[in-house]
């Protein structure tokens, strides 16, 4: 009886194993099939994880990673269309390459990974150039400036960090460049840290701190929409830039983007982009401060 038992079960086990292997293989072949359109060129030319310029052109579509929830840089409007400063540029890249654009909604934390695994061809998601990131991906020429800014109530405007007394606190969002910068350079300032944008905003409006430090784009947008607040310090710390990024080693695409950014300077493309997408949020005053034209930082 028992002998028969184990035999039967062994057979069953074998069947299960076969099923699973077949399942996995079917899965793989399905995945490769789905990707065939874009990777056939890849398979004859090279084993690289990224797609070169020619491969992208041949496939007829480019995958660009953008934010889908960072208004006004990359967001989805009420009709389900991608919009924003980064998206405007992304559409232009696709148009000039002569291919369709396929937007991939990206999370901030996955931007490097998405490039390294070839899930997207370009990241255009408010990607600040840092030394650490530059070791992992290749940045093209910048198309926007970013610095830190400090917003405070207009009647007690803070225009210099030295105005902040020992009993005062500055509000920051945890994990942002503002927090890191202030901790390193101004350890004497007391920080009150909040996890989300809305928590920090509520705390600031309830007078939990004398000022709020964040990316200058964020504080400018805030002061423009809420009455009674001024950006006393529009630029703090080192000037950072925002640039498109490609997978490390993807020379052909990188060079093409750099040439594109240079040539777009003739028509003042990024100024037009600013006026189309950012002017409602930041106003005309910050145009020269934020826009980088032709990859040249003034």
């Amino acid at each position: 009886m028992y002998m028969k038992n184990t035999k039967l079960f062994k057979l069953l086990a074998l069947a299960v194993a076969v099923l699973m292997v077949v399942g996995v293989m079917a899965g793989c072949s399905k995945a490769t099939e789905a990707d065939k359109g874009e990777t056939t060129a890849n398979s004859d030319s090279s084993d690289t994880i990224y797609r070169s310029l020619d491969e992208i052109k041949e496939s007829g579509s480019i995958k660009i990673g953008v934010f889908s929830d960072k208004n006004p840089f990359g967001f989805v409007d009420e009709n389900g269309e991608y919009q924003g400063y980064d998206v405007y540029f992304a559409r232009r890249i696709a148009k000039d390459l002569g291919v369709e654009v396929e937007f991939v909604s990206t999370e901030a934390a996955n931007r490097v990974e998405a490039l390294q695994t070839g899930k997207v061809d370009i990241i255009l998601a408010n990607f600040t150039v840092t030394e650490e990131r530059a070791q992992q991906v290749d940045f093209a020429l910048p198309y926007m400036n970013v610095a830190l800014g400090v917003v405070s109530p207009s009647d007690k405007a803070i225009t210099d960090l030295s105005q902040i007394g020992t009993d005062d606190a500055v509000i920051v969002i945890s994990g942002t460049t503002a927090e890191i910068y202030l901790e390193e350079n101004n350890p004497e300032i007391t920080l009150k840290k909040y996890d989300t944008y809305s928590d920090a905003k509520t705390a600031f409006e309830n007078g939990q701190g004398v000022a709020w430090a964040n990316d200058n784009t964020e504080v400018i947008a805030y002061a423009n929409t809420v009455d009674g607040y001024t950006v006393g310090i529009p630029k703090l710390g080192s000037d950072d830039t925002i640039a498109p990024a490609v997978t490390k080693g993807n020379e052909s695409l990188l060079n093409w983007i750099n040439d594109e950014i240079k040539s777009l300077a003739d028509e003042q493309f990024f100024h037009k982009d600013y006026e189309e997408t950012l002017v409602d949020t930041y106003g005309k005053d910050y145009e020269e401060e934020l826009v980088v034209e032709g990859g040249v930082i003034k």
Partner: protein
């Protein structure tokens, strides 16, 4: 009332195609979880039978598999399958496909363990009584063991199914745009115009998930009642 509707962001919901997009996001959630659930139940039943084997090799393999699933957060599994496969072997999965693999991998293990538990909970004397009555092996299984196993399995597996559906928002991390991500997109696009839209939208998400999971629980309790008589 009007003020309440605006304050809590319910008006945002009906602007443009927002509501359709939200439903579309929910459909992505449902599609991925239902495919995974179906695969998990089939594979899980087979695995459960394998788990009851007295063979030390299959026992060890099942044990390792189950422990991996229990120890690893689903998010880690998602990253391994979606990004890891591309990095290590150059496989380019669609993110939805990667999600189905991970949820099936997880569901099969848990389902298998439930099936094993249910099978082993049938006392040995029931088999012996059946054989004593002259039933053969398959008769014993189909008339005695399996009906009781299914009854014992049902509440537990329904619990697993709803848990799987509720875990799907994790797939946002591998670039799938599902219901919660659509909600965040809508909230952000209206950050200035309706700063409180988050409440309204997540309330709707709550209602959508409830609408999906509640009928499943109802069906389960209905079947349980029916079979207990």
């Amino acid at each position: 009332m009007q003020a309440l509707v605006t304050d809590l962001g319910f008006d945002v919901l009906f602007r443009g195609t927002n509501f359709t997009r939200l439903l579309g996001g929910m459909w992505v959630t449902l599609e991925i979880s239902l495919i995974s659930v179906a695969l998990s139940i089939i594979l899980g039943i087979l695995l459960g039978v394998v788990m009851t084997l007295k063979n030390p090799v299959t026992k060890a393999i099942c044990r390792v598999y189950l422990e991996i699933v229990r120890i690893m957060p689903q998010l880690v599994l998602l990253f391994i399958v979606y990004y890891g496969s591309a990095r290590l072997i150059g496989l380019k999965f669609e993110p939805e496909f990667a999600a189905v693999i991970v949820f099936t991998f997880w569901g099969t293990a848990e389902m298998g363990d439930l099936v094993r538990g249910a099978l082993q909970s049938i006392p040995i004397h029931q088999y012996e009584s059946a054989y004593a009555l002259g039933m053969n092996r398959s008769q014993t299984y189909f008339s005695i063991v399996i009906p009781q196993t299914i009854r014992r399995l049902l509440p537990l597996s329904i619990n697993l199914v709803t848990r799987m559906i509720k875990t799907t928002p994790l797939i946002v991390m591998i670039e799938v745009v599902e219901a919660t991500k659509v909600a965040r997109q809508i909230i952000d696009a209206n950050r200035v115009a309706s700063p409180n839209a988050a409440f309204g939208l997540f309330f709707v998400i709550f209602v959508l998930y409830f609408a999906v999971c509640w009928p499943i629980s109802l069906l389960a309790s209905h079947l349980e009642k029916k079979w207990s008589n």
